[in-house]
């Protein structure tokens, strides 16, 4: 069989397209959020996590992992942070929150909604970030002085993002369709 350079084709499944769409939405939120001034590095709303939560609850953990990691890599490329310290912090936080989401998504749905998962993920996110910062960037326990600030912001934005995700899931369409509302 001779390989033809002109007929190189990638088979794109419906799943791939869906993941790409969700990832695009998450990346757009990441870029938009980068424009919001933050009082402290690390304190961010994490709006892209709304998308991750929706994907998690609609399509399962594996797709959430895809969207989430694509978001981290492509989002950091878009804002010029790729392989900068912020990228690794973001990656560490994302990996931790995905691990926690794997467990949190098994909680009984009747009792625990997107808000629970969002709060768990937000705390795992700051946990991963602070841990990496302590091990690598600031090898001093002084980093932990900031934990209360990070934890408070994780609680606030965890609840807000969870509510947003819950609203999207309850109302049906997270995709912005013309003429809605």
């Amino acid at each position: 069989m001779t390989a033809s350079t002109t007929e190189l084709s990638l088979r794109v499944s419906a799943d791939d397209r869906r993941i790409a769409r969700y990832a695009a939405a998450a990346i757009a939120l990441t870029v938009a959020e980068a424009a919001i001034p933050s009082p402290l590095p690390g304190v961010k709303p994490g709006l892209a996590n709304i998308v991750i939560l929706i994907v998690l609850l609609r399509h399962g953990w594996r797709e959430a992992v895809w969207v989430s990691l694509l978001r981290v890599v492509a989002g950091s490329l878009a804002i010029g942070q790729f392989l900068a310290p912020g990228f690794f912090l973001s990656l560490a936080g994302t990996v931790c929150s995905l691990a926690v989401l794997a467990a949190a998504s098994r909680l009984p749905r009747a009792w625990f909604g997107p808000v629970s998962q969002s709060i768990c993920a937000a705390f795992a996110h700051i946990g991963g970030q602070v841990l990496l910062a302590r091990l690598w960037l600031v090898p001093h326990d002084g980093v932990f002085y900031l934990v209360p600030v990070f934890a408070a912001s994780a609680l606030l934005f965890g609840v807000v993002n969870g509510l947003a995700a819950a609203r999207f899931l309850a109302d049906g369409t997270p995709s912005v369709s013309p003429g809605s509302k």
Partner: protein, 125 residues
């Protein structure tokens, strides 16, 4: 349109309450060191001076290489000069938090700030 309250399930309240408790518990961490009360200067691990942080003072400590100069101002202290080659303890600048330490290893001199709630007895000071 569903109301925001309806989006929260019973377990969500529980998780939020637990998270809020975790935040509340973590807050004392922010001031764990507390305000510093005095500066302790040591040479080879033995205390050579304990300086209250409410009086401006400058002392000289003889170390292995030469003289380290410790400077105390209200609420802060620093190593003002040190004969060490890399000057790490000098570059650290002013120490303000309890449990903060500047170590001039080559000269065997350390400067540490101690708070009211030190793990050892500071009440009799």
């Amino acid at each position: 349109m569903t109301s925001w309250r309806a989006l929260l399930r019973p377990g969500d309240w529980l998780v939020a309450a637990l998270a809020a408790a975790a935040v509340a518990v973590s807050f004392p961490l922010l001031w764990r060191g507390g305000p510093a009360e005095k500066a302790v200067v040591k040479r080879d691990g033995t205390v050579v001076a304990e300086l209250p942080l409410n009086i401006t003072k400058r002392i000289e400590v003889q170390g292995a290489l030469g003289t380290s100069v410790i400077e105390v101002r209200p609420g802060r202290a620093r190593v003002a000069a040190d004969p060490g080659p890399r000057q790490y303890c000098v570059k650290q600048g002013w120490l303000t938090q309890a449990n903060a330490v500047a170590i001039c290893a080559p000269n065997h001199v350390t400067l540490a700030l101690v708070g009211a709630k030190a793990s050892y007895d500071s009440l009799n000071y």
